[in-house]
Symmetry: C3
Subunit: 269 residues, 3 copies
């Protein structure tokens, strides 16, 4: 059951290094603290590898990246690889610019990325499909679950890693086994950084269970979606996306393996 | 009625590119999502123009700017101009340093800025008056409404754009017609980034109604002030500025054209 | 009584320049507004000194620092020194990298720092002890109060400044007189940036009472801990660290000297 991965995360309490965007960095840090992990953030090229060496996992996020960010990410990633720490890549808005596309390609070519977490348009860009990107907080709708699964599986096989594609249906696959996850609610799409937070959460799950990337990533996706459902159920009249943002983190804070086992909704294909 | 501009914003759901400070970037992004728009943030010079090309409007904010930020803003602004997207400038703390003054001057000289949104001391600096700046979250009080209107009108005429000067009384003018807006509450002055959020909101309104900058900016100012009033009315004993911050975004999340029409308080001169 | 320092802070309403990390910058700004001060943030080297000149106090925080941040901090710090403004240093994660260790050493050697605020592992690094750093949000436990006091006193004497070492017991000392402070709650350790916020709060207290650094820093530590207790008492079932984060700032917003006098728990040694 996926709940055991959350219990292990709380027991392990890994320190996770995030090279992530400044828009959602605070939420990423608070979410890591909520799940029992601890955050450390440094995106300075001369600092990144040394910081990674203190930690147990690495989360690379392309939002608000700079031209020099790739150097930080490569330095940290090579150190993480040397130490056997799992690396997660969140290719935020990779369709929006050539800087981001080049960076994502370089990171995937050079680093043993354990998991890629993105929305449909981002995963499609990495898989080499030509899609129109529409910002970083939205994906396109209307594709069949089968299409989405195929896309995720292809990228997972091509890159030899786990792919977590989140959207209307969340798909987590290593190319072979695939979790179709039904947790979450549309209102999460109106909270900035819900995806960034999920990526950091998945990095923490992977850091606590490095030998079980697929299950760890699936557990993270279920936990984040379930947190959204719990948060939504607590909304009072007048509460909107800012309050939902707080309640999602709060829900992770109180979640344990038992709650996750009871609330997770998925099938394995 | 101004409410129709909010309805159009929700229908249009524009993607807005913000080059904005890291202090309030999260609130800016959540406010854009609250009003029905979507945010994308990139301040990397080599990335900015390409990101702008995916969007419908541009918000330039001088808070925490770097020496290289001007290049990003110019590149994004020139692309926005080429595409006919409205550009909004928020000259945060422009009185505090020569870097910011020079940047604001350059941006206004080179770009067809549609709207400038600032507090009294910031607008006064742009209008060439010598005033003492006191931080970025406060303006000076005590000036007559007439003085404030004259200042805003002069800058609007000099720069050929809409000026939204917010403070005790909010003034939105194109130099010819002037909205005097009575929405808002003093408690908003204790929420960091209330001004940055308003600027992003105004950029979204302009992006949805590019042919009606004056009315769109006035609608944004009314909507933000009204959100502050709604948020204040929901405060419980013990709630302070951090909770008010969330409730303001929540209030925008639930606002529609009808609510705005009922709550907007303004006169046109 | 320490409450008088809070009353003076609210009367003085100092503008405080923060060169601080982007993870917690928003909370730092809102906390400064909550206590009656105002924030201005600029970390651009060519901007920093000029911004400092508009303010009354300076808070230097090493979280997410860049290689060029030291130049900004030195420029701002030299201007603050020239103007007689108090400087506070928060050596976030100083044990995690040589960049941060070098920066902290340089700043302490070159600037008349009035107060250092850090956790046990950070203070130990500055005092020259070899400790294992574990992220920025946690310290090590298990040391006796006497050990902690000795460490803080030694650094205070060596650097000729006030040291505020926060953890299970908070110690504020000038090397001679020592406040042992019992306010706060363990749950604050799960809110990212509680330390950064305390540092900014202490910088504001120092800016309002520059002649009484020890008492001002002790008042800030009591006020922040008391805010955590008030916030915790307001938590409803299901509320977690994200809601606690808001309520801490809210509690500062409503705190006055009388409340602080009643709630402060400390002894002087």
């Amino acid at each position: 059951m996926l709940g055991s991965y959350l219990d292990r995360l709380r027991e392990t309490a890994p320190l996770v290094h995030c090279i992530t965007n400044y828009v959602t960095a605070n939420d990423v840090a608070n979410l890591l603290l909520a799940c029992g992990a601890s955050p450390i953030l440094s995106d300075e090229p001369s600092d990144a590898a040394e910081v990674t060496a203190c930690t147990r996992g690495l989360c690379l996020n392309l939002g608000t990246m700079k031209s020099w960010s790739v150097d930080s990410m490569l330095a940290a990633g090579e150190e993480a690889a040397r130490l056997g720490h799992p690396i997660l890549l969140d290719p935020v808005g990779v369709g929006a610019s050539s800087l981001r596309r080049t960076a994502a390609g370089l990171l995937l070519d050079r680093l043993p990325v354990a998991c890629i977490r993105g929305n449909l348009s981002e995963i499609a860009v990495l898989a080499g499909l030509d899609v129109e990107s529409r910002g970083v907080d939205t994906g396109r709708g209307g594709q069949s679950t089968e299409t989405v699964c195929t896309l995720a599986r292809e990228l997972a096989k091509a890159r030899g890693c786990v792919v977590a594609l989140t959207g209307q249906t969340d798909v987590v696959t290593d190319g072979d086994r695939t979790y179709l996850i039904g947790n979450g609610c549309p209102e999460m799409g109106r909270v900035t950084g819900a995806g960034c937070q999920l990526s950091a959460l998945a990095a923490a799950f992977l850091a606590a269970s490095p030998g079980a990337s697929l299950e760890a990533a699936a557990a993270a996706v279920c936990a984040m979606g379930l947190a959204g459902e719990i948060a939504l159920a607590r909304q009072a009249p007048g509460d909107g996306n800012a309050t939902l943002r707080c309640r999602i983190i709060d829900a992770v804070y109180h979640m344990d393996g038992h709650t996750l086992n009871k609330g997770a909704r998925y099938e394995i294909r």
